[in-house]
Symmetry: C2
Subunit: 173 residues, 2 copies
Amino acid sequence: MRVLGVDPGLTRCGIGVVEGSPGRPCQLISYEAVTTDPAAELPARLLRLDERLGELLATHRPDGVAVERVFSQHNVRTVMGTAQAGAVAVLAAARAGIPVELYTPSEVKAAVTGSGQAGKAQVTAMVTRLLRLTEAPRPADAADALALAICHVWRGGTRAKFAAAAAKSGGAA
Amino acid sequence: MRVLGVDPGLTRCGIGVVEGSPGRPCQLISYEAVTTDPAAELPARLLRLDERLGELLATHRPDGVAVERVFSQHNVRTVMGTAQAGAVAVLAAARAGIPVELYTPSEVKAAVTGSGQAGKAQVTAMVTRLLRLTEAPRPADAADALALAICHVWRGGTRAKFAAAAAKSGGAA
């Protein structure tokens, strides 16, 4: 399955696309950081992010989208922009009819490093190793987005199966 | 000018449409609260809100959209949903090419009651009086959305003129 991961941010939004299947190494497809001008008005910033996400979803046609779940306990100064960028990403995927899964930072860290308390450097190091890259993806937001995508391939496959089974048996997906 | 006001909320999003010009009484066009099921998944909730906002923008074709500016100091439990719903509203207007203005709750209260510290009941009472309604708009979210729209008619006209003048003279709008 192909997964597009999003580390939401209004000034810098990390995007990472990988392909793989649960329990096997993932393959890097693409990554980037979508940036918006902090001096620009909010509508223009959200529109720019929405348009780039739409292009990337159309180009890579992922089977699933993984977005970091934002908590209000985070840095109060940046949490609003993160929540707004996250909403744009979730909505862009929903509008394209692509299933979205949200993961907490601890879930992602645990998936790629084995520890939910791992630091940023450790996550980047593991993403670099897991995707067999010769150097670390930059900026860090892109590495985090790739970690989200890897996490979804490994965990999301299972969730998707459960959801499909539930839908088939008439339960809520 | 016709203005669509949005009091953002994920479970209940207030929408109010008024028509008027600065310094004159506004006329009520329409109001409602768009609700989404708290038990539903986030993508489905954002999509429902986006779709209803798109319908309302197409139906009422407002000249401007006024959205409440969300602060992270608000109720921590609900602030994330508010930020997400606000982002959906701002993006929906931006995608439709309609100018968006953000107002703080104090700006809105000051515009309709004369005091930035006014309570909810006072805002609702003034909205009812200013629009010459026989009873208060319900729910309160809809009344708040109407207050935002009135605030924008009265204040936004001026801002829009400044922006147009700045654009004309080659400055940033």
